[in-house]
Symmetry: C2
Subunit: 343 residues, 2 copies
């Protein structure tokens, strides 16, 4: 089963490419009118995530409409804590929130101990199978999960936060409990990602959205060590680690046993390239706000970024998920600029 | 008029000290029961900020109760946009919000063009005079303002944000308007800080709370250049610049013409010391969450931090404002540990 367009996968391997592959974080959903049209016929966000036919449809939309070089399954990182026994709600206005949180040993004990990921998250695997089939091998399909630290934050905090001080508090006051919870999350995540590969994912990405809230020492201990554990379970699999905001930890992140690093728009490409040399592919990192500019401006900014690459080992993306109010036509300008760029 | 305890000011000058000075961002208000007792008798947060007698009282409280080496005036960075013609409300739950925002030339034109800072912000100057008098020269008094980029974010966004994408959008789509607004904010801020010095402030600090949301190039252009303009207006005045989260820009920040840099807990002290050598004092940077730990833990973590200093040119502080639910007794442990530490 060979892919018609395998640029994204070859970039992970560091192979010589004809041009840079390009896709966008959050390309499935949000910005596309075609997504909103399908969505308006259905219920809330979680219902969409849990309906394989819907998830498959909107996963493929950006391949058809935006002509990206990879598809990423439409899902949510919070399906993992839910599978662990901590259900959540998604509110349009306030974002995700959990009725229960894990801040004590007693609360930790209430989590389900042994869980069958295949049963609990079957809807994600179904969505992957369906997508894989309907994609007809046009482009690779990326599976994903939240990194343990970010999932930990949601389970401790119960919602988003400006400081994540409850989560960070636990690292100082109950480090053993923190490690227990992080270990549990990591194990479930490994099972979950294995299931995603079995269901048809060609590559994986870990999203560590709240990496930047920790100092270097703590991120090494409570963040990177668990990402490492996961990465070691997927040797040989194309795996991207995106530690958003963790500029202070780039040196440590550079040593992770994964094939690619995602960079946010504040991370310097040259500095990171020096750290990883040619051992890793870098993914990113145009400021998503550039896409608010004119077509000419987007072309110029994109070409400037491409010119700054000192190696060909790159996957082009934004430095963050595409923002919901971005005009899809502007996204197309970005993608076309990358595709037309000659090495 | 000589201060009984001028450690903080001498640290700014790089003089030889007997021990490190220590104070806490957000030490005035929030954590002290004595603050809450006074506050409960009065109205909302803004009324407190606008009442010089109250502001003076709670500014001095931490000097009496926590034994800090400097007082910082109880106020709010958002008094500046309000003085410029953009009033705001402070909601206990949602934080600050502005009914009007500045996203177009038309909206910018609605701001008051020439403002008399002395008249509009007289309550802050009154509070400083009163505080200075009542402090009886025990410790220096710090005045402050938001850095232009952070004030810009509030004026454009109208409230806090996870991405500040409206503010960043303006930098790409209307850079001239962005510079006009940033210039206006800078000019008002210079007037405001001059007034604070005249009213009795011994030193100044600029808070750039949202510095970390910009990449290096953009922070240089839209953040640092305006901080520089302000810093140049205060040559010889002890001035601390705190660019929270701007790890990617440390090299540029290190070149600012100010006497001290504030470091958040994710910024590496050694790296920053290398960048500034002995030209600047560093302020910070214990993770505020350490204060959730036991007294023994706080002592150990504080001493670890102090031992990591490779120069004596330091002012000890947390890496962020003290969190509201921290026990004041824990703050005292932190302060005593610093005071008892022998070089």
């Amino acid at each position: 089963m060979s892919l018609k367009n395998d640029l994204y996968l070859r970039a992970h391997k560091g192979e010589k490419l004809e041009r840079y592959p390009v896709w966008l974080m959050r390309q499935a959903g949000r910005i596309l009118p075609e997504y909103r049209a399908v969505r308006s016929k259905m219920g809330g966000f979680k219902e969409l995530v849990e309906t394989p036919e819907f998830a498959a449809e909107v996963t493929i939309q950006p391949v058809d409409i935006l002509d990206v070089d990879a598809a990423i399954i439409f899902s949510d990182i919070l399906v993992v804590p839910e599978a662990m026994g901590l259900p959540y709600q998604m509110s349009e206005q306030r974002g995700p929130w959990f009725e229960n949180t894990i801040r004590t040993e007693e609360q930790f004990a209430l989590l389900d101990k042994k869980i069958d990921v295949h049963e609990r998250l079957s809807y994600v695997f179904e969505a992957l199978k369906l997508t894989k089939k309907e994609l007809k091998d046009r482009v690779p399909l990326i599976g994903f999960a939240g990194a343990p630290w970010t999932i930990f934050c949601y389970m401790v905090e119960g919602k988003g936060s400006k400081t994540f001080s409850e989560s960070r508090k636990l690292l100082y006051t109950k480090p053993d409990l923190a490690h227990e919870l992080l270990n549990r999350i990591s194990d479930v995540t490994i099972d979950y990602l294995k299931g995603q590969l079995e269901a048809g994912a060609d590559a994986l990405q870990l999203f560590d959205s709240w990496a930047g809230i920790l100092g270097r020492e703590q991120y090494a201990k409570f963040g990177i060590s668990y990402i490492k554990k996961i990465a070691e379970a997927f040797e040989g699999v194309p795996l991207t680690v995106f530690s958003k905001g963790a500029v202070a930890s780039l040196e440590d992140i550079a040593k992770l046993p994964c094939s690619a690093l995602g960079l946010d728009w504040s991370m310097d490409i040259r500095t990171t390239r020096e750290l990883v040399a040619e051992t890793k592919t870098l993914q990113g990192n145009l400021d998503p706000c550039v896409l608010y500019g004119t077509a000419e401006f987007i072309q110029k900014a994109t070409i400037n970024m491409l010119k700054s690459f000192e190696s060909h080992r790159h996957i082009v993306n934004l430095g963050h998920g595409v923002y919901p109010d971005i005009d899809p036509e502007k996204v197309k300008v970005f993608i076309k600029t990358v595709k037309n760029y000659e090495f």
